[in-house]
């Protein structure tokens, strides 16, 4: 699998760590709503199809990414930084034709 890190470009799966389901809302830290904490901690939607999830580019820039990826085909339809980086500009991409 290749994941296109918004900072580093397309990179091999081996450089990434799955950080889990992004369809979960962490309750307010001060919340004492035990049910909400339980759901957040243990219960998963386990989507078949396009799944929102977190990945860390742990073997690269170490940014956490929020992706939408199909759990059927592994096709990735979107990748973005979880933590906004307003100053970020993608690097210039490779031109074709260079020696392999």
């Amino acid at each position: 699998m290749l994941i296109t890190c918004p900072y580093c470009g397309p990179r091999d799966l081996a450089e990434f760590t799955y950080q889990g389901d992004a369809n979960r809302a962490r309750p307010d830290p001060a919340s004492t709503d035990q049910a909400a904490w339980n759901v957040y901690t243990y219960d998963r939607v386990n989507t078949l199809g396009d799944h929102a999830e977190y990945w860390q580019h742990s073997g690269g820039c170490r940014a956490h990414l929020k992706m939408v990826r199909s759990t059927l085909t592994h096709a990735i339809s979107s990748v973005e930084f979880v933590r906004p980086h307003p100053g970020h500009k993608p690097s210039s991409r490779r031109k074709p034709g260079a020696a392999p």
Binding site: M1, D12, L13, A14, T17, Y18, G20, D21, Q34, A35, N38, V39, T41, Y42, D43, R44, V45, N46, T47, L48, H51, E53, W55, R69, T71, L72, T73, H74
Partner: protein, 419 residues
């Protein structure tokens, strides 16, 4: 239906095999059953078998969307053991091993359970302490376990590099002699045939598309072969639990579906005669009766329903296997495949009544589903028949997570990829 024995085999061999009939019937669905079991995998089939055998409930259908045993029962690395740390798992898995020990006779079907042992190698002193804790815990509930010294291991596994290339020396190992392997497909076929002989209907190519409800209560299933009503509906669909339960309106469960890859090498003359695991990485390997080295490692580690893994795990597993058995570097990988694991939030299974009235749930098998097959069906059948769990599966509830009564063998918390 002919009883299987060496005599019937001989008689048929010299008379053009006339007695061999289908191992199970291919009936049409009846409009209603006492119990409908969704999922014709190992656990669904064993549940049907024990419902009939132990509880006399034979008006049962096993509903399978494809062909029997197409899921993880035919995709695993065939290992069987009860070398668990936590008492809840120990009692359950030991019950399973005991059922395994008599399964071929029970089913009149040779499932080839071979008690060649399971050896966990400790690659650090602290790991050896952990294994001692586990082995002693096993001994205190009546399960066999022994520690093997480095010298014993060397003699037992001459092909092993006892120092793993000098990087991870072996400090000893935890051995369960009664552990072993079985022929995975035969387990599915044996249970199917055994249940069929007791009157259970195997409904293949019958995909569940929804549940029939009476208020909150589940009263049957809607399938591609029509509606089937049932007094009780039991779900044992492993990696597809989440999808099925969504049809019943349950949108979140303490389950994630992950892919686990498994591998087999080309056939070899006997190379080793046990199951062995590598403590400093994650590798388990055995040799099949056909001679292939059968092995696996970690799950790929992300949610998926695709029975297709990726390359990094393949590379990890091969490097660990070659580190363990350097002579295997020149042996060739024959085939790889993937199965969808229902990874629970504590690494332990769920066998319970509910979550809706009229429904029963069996899931969360993580890496451990194959070895559990007999006990899973046995306990699930009990739970379905009596509407309450057997003491063996009393702890495997759905609410244990919220209550903090987790059964966390690895101590990793609610991160399924780490279990």
């Amino acid at each position: 239906m002919a009883e299987y024995s060496v005599f019937s085999l001989l008689r048929n061999a010299f008379s053009a095999q006339p007695d061999w009939k289908p191992a199970w019937r291919k009936p049409d669905p009846k409009p209603e059953y006492d119990v409908v079991i969704v999922g014709g995998g190992g656990h669904g089939l064993s549940t049907a078998y024990y419902l009939a055998k132990e509880h006399g409930i034979t008006n049962v259908a096993v509903v399978e969307r494809g062909w029997l045993g197409q899921g993880n029962i035919g995709r695993n690395t065939t290992m069987i053991r009860s070398n668990y740390l936590l008492p809840q798992n120990q009692h359950f898995y030991e019950h399973s091993v005991k059922l395994w020990e008599n399964l071929s006779h029970d089913l009149n079907y040779n499932v080839m359970f071979s008690q060649r042992g399971c050896l966990n190698l400790a690659n650090s002193p602290s790991q050896l302490d952990d294994f001692a804790r586990r082995g002693n815990a096993m001994r205190h509930v009546g399960i066999d376990a022994e520690l093997m010294s480095v010298e014993q291991i060397k003699a037992f596994l001459p092909a092993l590099d006892i120092n793993f290339g000098g990087r991870f020396p072996v400090y000893g190992g935890l051995m369960q002699r009664r552990a072993g392997t079985a022929r995975h497909d035969a387990v599915a076929w044996g249970y199917a045939r055994g249940a069929d002989r007791r009157g259970v209907d195997m409904l293949e190519n019958c995909e569940v598309t929804g549940f029939l409800r009476d208020g909150d209560r589940i009263v049957g299933v809607r399938t591609t072969r029509g509606e089937i009503r049932a007094k009780k509906v039991a779900v044992a669909v492993a990696g597809h639990t989440g999808q099925l339960m969504k049809m019943a309106g349950i949108n979140r469960l303490p389950i994630e579906s992950h892919v686990l890859q498994a591998f087999v090498s080309e056939g070899l003359k006997p190379f080793m005669d046990t199951v062995v695991t590598f403590g400093a990485g994650h590798l388990y390997v055995t040799q099949s009766d056909k001679g292939g080295m059968v092995f696996g490692g970690d799950i790929d580690g992300y949610n998926t329903y695709a029975q297709r893994g990726n390359l990094p795990i393949v590379e990890d597993v091969m490097s660990e296997l070659a580190a363990m058995f350097p002579g295997l570097a020149r042996v060739r990988l024959l085939r790889s495949w993937g199965g969808i694991m229902d990874m629970s939030m504590d690494g332990s299974p769920i066998i319970t009544t509910g979550p809706l009235p009229g429904m029963y749930l069996n899931t969360g098998w993580c890496y451990g589903g194959f070895k559990a097959t007999p006990a899973s069906g046995w306990c699930f059948a009990w739970t379905i028949a009596r509407d309450e769990p057997h003491p063996y599966n009393a702890a495997f509830t759905l609410d244990r997570f919220h209550r903090g009564l987790v059964i966390d063998e690895k101590g990793q918390g609610s991160t399924p990829r780490l279990h």
